[in-house]
Amino acid sequence: MKVAYFPGCSLHSTGIEFDISVREVCKALEIDLEEIEGWVCCGATSAHATNHLLSLAMPAYSLALAERMDVQDVVAPCAACFNRLKHAVVLSQQNEETYNKIKELLPIPWENKLRVRNLLDIFSNMLEEISSKVTKPLSDIKLACYYGCLLLRPPHICQFDNPENPQTMDELMKACGAQVVDWAFKTECCGANLTIPRPDLVVELTYRILKSAKTAGADAIVTACPFCHLNLDARQADIHKTKGELFNIPILYFTQILGIALGVPPKKLGLTRHLVDPFLLPALRRR
């Protein structure tokens, strides 16, 4: 299967291990990712916070570039990019005036004919194949699947999974042999970009999420978004400082767990780039 790949800015920097593990996992599952040539930033979050039309035109331009490729689907692993690309697609489908305004702004034609998907969506539709390819099941690890906001909300845009109690990541992790915990904070907000201007608020929000996962008995939290990953991983030191509680809970991308289960060597999955060391977990150390 060939798809157009929209990595987004974070996957080339703070979320680099997401990009690394996405590419490895897709190789193992024979999904041919072809990066959209000349793609531009999706604008999240600052464009939509300041300029509605700009926030739709920026992702629409990258989608227009992808229409020149021989593909039906655009894959954006980053939840924020997925959300903004879907906004351009769905709001244009729902409102012709919006579509016309965007089209007028773009220097190249845009038919809005491609489907925007996130990787959980793709993988959850090939669970049987994935199960059959799992060579190293992770039966000795308990995971809290954290979906965050942007894969699910707003539901009229994302049109993916159950926005209140999503299951796709849980099912995928179970297919990898892992145990998943039932917990209450799987769709709570991590504070996203407030981590720069208001880190105190992000400490508050991530504290609740980490605490909930720990109480539920999770060894690690699995994410699908570079913002969520950054906040949950990098703010644990600040939480220790301000709340006096040291969690040391490893935060992993779902593609890293899937990669391990599919037999990709852990060193090829970017596991050493996290701030909280995932090899703290005996289950991962043994691999």
Partner: protein
């Protein structure tokens, strides 16, 4: 007693930007109950909706419109399908256009610097953007330990990556009146 005859100007401005009609809101309070950041807001989300209905422009100088993290919990749960997160976006856009002095100045500063860097390069150069933000908000030394750890793990690219189509982004910003 508050004069409850609404001035529709603000409601109309919001509708013009994002298509949402704040007049539909009947004050059930579900948005505030759902909001993970309402504890940090000076005016709660349902009050923002009421003020927007009544045309009370003080809402534009609330901390709320900047503290909102766009998680869209309110939007997912609103029984009237009002996309409250779009209303928040529209209020920010109006506040910027009208030069309303923000109660949380660092957050709009963050957005402004973000958009400028993306306009230059077509992509976000995270290290450069964060350094400029830290300098201009005079917060240079907080997060330094975290920044160094991230840098050492190769999570902050020292060199900017650019899109060959950065000029297109610049033009889009110009045509849409981005400040």
């Amino acid at each position: 007693m508050l004069d409850l005859v609404a001035d529709d100007t603000l409601a109309n401005q919001i509708k013009e930007i994002c298509g949402e009609d704040v007049r539909k809101c009947y004050q059930c309070g579900k948005c505030t109950a759902s909001c993970p950041l309402s504890f940090a807001m000076d005016i709660k989300p349902n009050q923002v909706m009421r003020m927007a209905q009544l045309g009370l422009r003080d809402v534009l100088s609330s901390s709320t419109i900047w503290i909102c993290a766009s998680c869209a919990s309110c939007t997912a749960r609103c029984p009237l399908d009002i996309r409250i997160s779009y209303v928040m976006d529209a209020l920010r856009e109006i506040a910027l256009k009208e030069d309303v002095s923000p109660k949380e100045p660092n957050i709009p500063l963050f957005h402004k610097i973000f958009c400028r860097w993306v306009g230059w390069l077509g992509k976000l150069y995270e290290l450069g953007f964060i350094m400029e933000y830290k300098l201009r908000s005079r917060q240079l030394f907080n997060d330094i330990a975290m920044g160094i750890k991230m840098f050492l793990r190769g999570k902050l690219n020292p060199f900017p990556s650019t899109s060959p189509n950065s000029e297109v982004v610049r033009q889009l910003m110009e045509k849409t009146g981005q400040k």
